[in-house]
């Protein structure tokens, strides 16, 4: 499959997971979202989502800020400029793959 129009290996591996992809899509369209909102939208469990979000943080695509609301910890996430650029690039590549336009430089 490598080199074909639908070669998924050419997509960003950090984003290319259904939970991380959904989280990136959410964060790219809002200023920031808390963990509960992301959990609700992705349908993931706490531990699973936490692991996926940590991977996005480790890649520098998302940043977290922790606060306390009514004495309960709340973690908010937002995309970094690098994450926004990576997500745009991912969408662009996916659309090009669908259009059947091979990208030689990839």
């Amino acid at each position: 499959m490598k080199g074909s129009a639908f070669d998924y290996q050419r997509l960003d591996d950090v984003i290319h997971s259904r939970i991380r992809l959904t989280a990136m899509a959410i964060l790219s369209s809002v200023e920031e979202a808390d963990f509960a909102f992301l959990k609700e939208k992705t349908g993931a469990t706490d531990g699973n989502l936490g692991a996926h979000l940590r991977k996005l943080e480790d890649a520098g695509y998302a940043e977290a800020s922790k606060t306390f609301v009514d004495r309960r910890p709340v973690t908010r996430y937002r995309l970094t400029p690098l994450g926004q650029e990576a997500f745009r690039h991912y969408i662009d590549r996916l659309e090009r793959m669908l259009a059947g336009i091979p990208r030689g430089e990839d």
Binding site: S17, R18, L21, A25, I26, A33, E40
Partner: protein, 210 residues
């Protein structure tokens, strides 16, 4: 694989569209501005009709200070609690702050300035509240607020075309029915558990592992 890629894109677009629209009005501002000014209206009516009671000007200064203070505290708390901050959320906040400032200016000008007749104040306020309620309904996806806006426009027309002391009581009733009551309904809706949605289980191409 092509179908998977199309599903990925469809998922991304749907999730982005849903997230952009995500904004909740918890109705507290409706309740604050629907009840405190209503008390001011009643106090003014009692004073004008009977000649007794506190000076309406002092009552209105207290109403404005209390309403703004309560609104700022609630706004700060809701801002910290908001699960998601979107453009719609910013627009809603900016719109209500703008409308609040404009109404305060009109109110103070009507009470102390020479340009706005005091009898026209309630009608003008109702005219300004109608579009704000309509836009709030659109931003928060609560279409029934459109009917509330129609109520404000209708009341504004009545107050502006048929002047009289009754306007104070009508405005008090409208404030309760068309602001405080919708606020209570919004609060009830916002307190419901959030539904599970947007689970991307149908996307087969993207790996689920970490």
């Amino acid at each position: 694989m092509e179908r998977d890629a199309r599903e990925d894109l469809a998922l991304i677009r749907r999730v982005m569209e849903e997230s952009r629209r995500a904004v909740v009005d918890r109705g507290m501002h409706f309740i604050i501005w629907g009840t405190l000014p209503a008390l001011g209206m009643v106090a003014t009516y009692v004073r004008v009709a009977t000649g007794e009671g506190p000076n309406p000007l002092w009552a209105w200064i207290a109403v404005l200070v209390l309403s703004w203070s309560a609104s700022m505290v609630v706004g700060w708390r809701e801002g910290r609690r908001a699960p998601v901050k979107t453009l719609a959320y910013r627009l809603l906040t900016a719109m209500w702050v703008s409308v609040g400032v404009s109404l305060t200016i009109v109110g103070i000008a009507g009470m102390f300035g020479p340009m706005i007749p005091t009898g026209a104040l309630a009608g003008l306020v109702a005219t300004m509240l109608a579009p704000a309620v309509l836009v709030a309904g659109l931003l928060t996806q609560q279409p029934w607020l459109g009917w509330v806006a129609v109520g404000w426009w209708t009341g504004a027309a009545v107050m502006l075309f048929f002047p009289g002391l009754y306007i104070l009581l009508l405005m008090a009733v409208m404030s309760v029915l068309l602001l405080a009551l919708p606020g209570a309904l919004l609060m009830r809706r916002a307190s419901r558990p959030r539904p599970q949605q947007g689970t991307p289980g149908s996307v087969g191409s993207a790996a689920g592992g970490v």
